[in-house]
């Protein structure tokens, strides 16, 4: 069986891609769309990738570019689906203040999404633990030193947000 068949690539990466997409997008639906579009591009162009080991990096880079492209379009034609936001609200807002040892996925995602996107994207990729800072630099198309400083600053902000949530 082809290790790099479409199904295998989806199985290997769609969960991580979804987490990254969810940290970037406004809603779960948007995150799902981003992941679908990314794999759609993979289905059409993935076979052109000369080095299969670059598939993961290619997918995350493509998803990030897709997100940036969508955001540019939305900036021109803003559209907010209220029902979608309401659906995501309770899960992502993490109403319950949690101490550090009781953090869960939703509360972390909520905290991440309060960060500016400048810090959110590198920090999410960092916490997925699948990418070195050099990989992150390649995915986001920024210098490695910039990634380091954004991770550092982003962590401080994230910690502050989590602590604020604990004390509120």
């Amino acid at each position: 069986m082809d290790e790099w068949s479409f199904e295998n690539v989806v199985n290997a990466h769609y969960e991580s891609l979804y987490r990254f997409a969810l940290s970037l997008a406004r809603s779960k639906a948007d995150a799902g769309d981003l992941v679908q579009q990314t794999f759609c591009r993979w289905a059409a162009k993935g076979s052109q990738l000369r080095d299969p080991s670059k598939a993961k990096s290619w997918l995350f880079t493509t998803l990030h570019r897709e997100f940036l492209g969508q955001r540019r379009r939305e900036d021109r034609f803003p559209k907010v689906e209220l029902s979608s936001m309401a659906e995501d609200g309770p899960e992502l807002a993490a109403d319950l203040p949690l101490p550090q040892n009781q953090l869960d996925g939703a509360s972390v995602m909520a905290a991440l999404r309060r960060l500016d996107e400048t810090y959110r994207a590198p920090l999410t990729l960092f916490y997925l633990e699948e990418h070195s800072y050099r990989d992150i630099a390649e995915i986001l198309d920024v210098p490695a030193g910039t990634v380091m400083s954004r991770i550092s600053r982003g962590k401080a902000l994230l910690r502050k947000i989590i602590l604020e949530k604990e004390t509120s």
Binding site: F6, E7, V10, N11, Y14, E15, Y18, R19, L22, K28, G32, V35, Q36, F39, C40, W42, A43, A44, K45, S47, Q100, N101, L103, D104, G105, A106, S107, V108, M109, L112, T124, F126, Y127, L128, E129, S132, Y133, V147, M148, S149, I151, S152, K155, L158, R159
Partner: protein, 292 residues
């Protein structure tokens, strides 16, 4: 590496240990082992990172998403390559002769231009006219506190020293300057070209300095074998060329002294070392001027 620098770097070190072998982190991790305060901070960071990372990985994609993506994948097929694109890809493949020929068309002229530029930039600059050279050497002779580099009374030794310091050493000297009264020598720089200087204290408190440079440097090199007397900055000078060398004699007294030194009557049979000085016998014109 300071503690703050280590902290910045270590912030990007994943808690799972995946980056332990990365050379970028090696120095910072070594510092952690030596610095207990940094170690405590790093342990706390890693704990926080592990907590956040673990929580983030709890987020699950909706089950239906995977099914939708797989269904989508089946409906999206890679577009068949048109004959035209295949033709283009074959034509411009990295190993096709056309690609190499095109690359050569770009690279070869580029290399030629770069080489031309290098040669042009390396070409020695035109140092200027002999009059400028003369003026600067007169200044060096009269006012430079660092008058000679090496004291020497033996002409052979002085010329050997000049040769060793990349100065002109193949000299043909007038008889009056064949070594008597030699005080020292020096190598000067004139627009990147080396100039030899010999300093003489001749009988009668006559101080003269002789400068020798490549005659080809000057578009207005002095006349061949016939001293031309002049003055510069109040100092009398005599200049001539011989065998591709330009000679400039600068006097610290009056002009008559130079004329006397270079007059045929003052010249006698020259006994300069064979390696460094060409005997006048080999150059009839010089011999004729100085000895007849």
């Amino acid at each position: 590496m300071t503690r703050d620098e280590a902290r910045l770097i270590l912030q990007s070190c994943r808690p799972g240990g995946q980056d332990a072998a990365d050379p970028q982190f090696a120095e910072a991790l070594a510092l952690v082992k030596q610095d207990p305060e940094l170690a405590a901070w790093f342990a706390q960071q890693q704990k926080f990172d592990a907590l956040v990372g673990g929580s983030l990985r709890q987020v699950r994609a909706p089950a239906r998403l995977k099914a939708e993506i797989l269904a989508l994948g089946k409906s999206v097929e890679a577009p068949a390559e048109s004959p035209i694109s295949v033709w283009w890809q074959k034509l411009f493949a990295w190993n096709s002769p056309v690609s190499w020929a095109l690359a050569a068309c770009v690279v070869v002229p580029f290399i030629v231009v770069i080489l031309g530029l290098v040669i042009y930039l390396k070409k020695p600059e035109n140092p200027g006219r002999f009059a400028d050279f003369s003026a600067q050497m007169v200044q060096a002779a009269l006012h430079d506190p660092h008058h000679v580099d090496a004291g020497a009374s033996d002409l052979k030794q002085a010329v050997a020293w000049l040769g060793a310091h990349h100065g002109e050493s193949n000299l043909v000297l007038p008889a009056a300057l064949n070594g008597n009264g030699l005080m020292g020598c020096r190598v000067l720089d004139w627009h990147g070209q080396k100039v030899s200087m010999l300093c003489y204290q001749l009988p009668g408190s006559t101080h003269v300095d002789l400068f020798v440079a490549e005659a080809g440097m000057f578009p207005d090199a002095p006349p061949q074998d016939k001293p031309q007397f002049a003055s510069s900055a109040g100092a009398p000078t005599a200049s001539w060329s011989h065998d591709g060398k330009a000679y400039l004699l600068v006097g610290h007294g009056d002009a008559a002294t130079l004329q006397r030194l270079l007059s045929p009557a003052a010249t006698a049979e020259i006994t300069l070392p064979s390696r460094i000085c060409m005997v006048f016998a080999r150059f009839p014109a010089v011999r004729k001027y100085f000895l007849e």
